[in-house]
Amino acid sequence: MKRTGFLHDIRYLLHDTGPYHPEMAERLQAIQKGVEAAGLLPQLTEIKAVPADMAWIEAVHATVYIRRFEEVCRSGVRQFDYSDNQMCTETYDTAILAVGGVLEAVRMVMAGEIDNAFCAVRPPGHHAEVAEAMGFCYFNNVAIAARYLQKEWGIERVGIVDFDVHHGNGTEHIFEEDPTVFYYSIHEHPSFAFPGTGRDFDTGKGAGKGFTKNSPMLPGQGDEEFKALIQQDLLPAFEGFRPEVILVSVGFDALDADEMADMRLSRACFTWIAEQLKVLADQYAEGRLISVLEGGYSIDHLGELAEDHLKVLMRD
């Protein structure tokens, strides 16, 4: 059995998005409950959040943006620029804890304390741009983790796989000119779903040309199309790139029952993608895989999806 880390922390519930927001604390409670009920906790290495060193956040985000986020948040204003970004006074600190928790998970994997990890964090990150909060995201957890891997651990090639139903515009944008970070995303087609980016002809820019790959799916498509695209687009891309560590933006919102978008993946398909990613990690990255929660809003199903995901990571 692999030594799998599970990042969860009660402080991630403190980010309060108000009464009508889908990105709510209950999401993590559902995940926690599912993992507990499945009896997985004793076999997992529990990871607790620590605040991130500001230098790592600044490795991705503009300092003026970070300061502005802090000020707006502490002032008690409940919305940051867009109606999507509902906050409370704890949001800024929670976002720092989300980054810090993910970096701690990465550190433990790199130090050999665990083999892989799943990070159940809030707020999510993949829509966050260098200087803009967007789509419930404030700090781009995964992008910061990629920079941390490179600067602190000397990793040269980081592979990011994002299977949230929405395109990770922030992550793509941050690395689009960077040939050392490969960003792969499979998501609902941008003409039908937020954020309106991630077209199949967007493949990176400048030196980063060829190091971004997008697989848009049409509304209503499901397991079959998803699997075909992963096999056709992701597997060959990573065979060429040979990532030394794999970071995963885990979104459970492509699930059929999830109302945030129009894709129809089954529960089993999420197990399938986790298995594919683990095979890739074993092939190229000495098994080093850190997955980080992005979206997923079906409270009734998040528990079992997290359970399945962790079970795949724990398997030999």
Binding site: Y20, H21, P22, Q79, Y82, S83, D84, H127, M134, G135, F136, H166, N169, S191, F192, A193, F194, P195, G196, T197, L218, P219, G220, E259, M260, D262
Partner: protein, 227 residues
């Protein structure tokens, strides 16, 4: 929405006695496909496209097999001999919509923009038009497109806009298009949010029908005439 705001002002031009080799070289350098031809006073007298230039050159030249005599003859050829005189032009006060309709009517990639006195003021290419259209659609911003079917009666759009505004959601754009059924309209709000599920429910609750995203054929709605 005036052409003058969207056109390219710094225009590369040619005189009618410039050699076609020189014109071709300058167009290649600047990566442009349309070269307005002007007289000494800056008045438009024609236009040369990269296609005009290519068809003026014999195949043997492209293959590098033509002899010196033939090459010398081509070098003597002037822009004025191959340009299209009286090209279709726009006035700076024309609108983007005028230009769109003109593009659809004539298979032209760019229009010289001239004032009432015939002076060249700029050039408007299909690319400029597309940029304006992307802007109008709002798709340069991050958001979600929705489709709502409404009956053609007073106050429908207001209800939709109010319902969305009450949710605190900003609009990137709102497009209203004809629908297959004559008494209905398709409304496409582009919303700057990741969170449309709630607004969708609200609108269905109010009696609106959402258009299945797979049934969006923005470019294929039947025209009134063909019905």
């Amino acid at each position: 929405m005036f052409v003058s705001k969207s056109m390219t002002r710094k225009v590369l031009t040619a005189a009618k006695d410039e050699s076609i080799f020189s014109a071709q070289e300058r167009m290649k350098q600047a990566a442009i496909r349309h070269l307005p031809v002007v007289d000494a006073d800056g008045r438009l007298i024609g236009i040369v496209t990269d296609r005009d230039l290519r068809s003026a050159m014999p195949y043997s030249l492209i293959k590098n097999t033509c002899d010196d005599a033939e090459r010398a003859k081509l070098a003597e050829m002037r822009v004025g001999e191959i340009m299209s005189p009286d090209p279709i032009t726009l006035n700076p006060a024309h609108t983007i919509q005028d230009a769109l309709l003109l593009v659809q009517e004539h298979k032209v990639g760019a229009f010289p923009v001239v004032d009432d006195a015939g002076n060249l003021k700029g050039i408007l290419s299909v690319r400029d038009l597309l940029r304006a259209f992307v802007n109008v659609l709002g798709i340069g911003q991050r958001g979600t497109l929705m489709g709502i079917l409404v009956e053609e009666k007073v106050g429908q759009l207001k209800q939709i806009v109010d319902a969305i505004t009450e949710e605190g959601i900003s609009f990137g754009s709102v497009l209203v298009a004809r629908y297959w059924e004559d008494d209905k309209r398709a409304v496409f709000p582009y919303l700057l949010t990741n969170h449309v599920a709630r607004v969708k429910k609200k609108l269905t609750g109010m009696g609106f029908t959402l258009i299945d995203p797979m049934d969006w054929y923005l470019d294929q709605l039947p025209s009134k005439e063909s019905e």
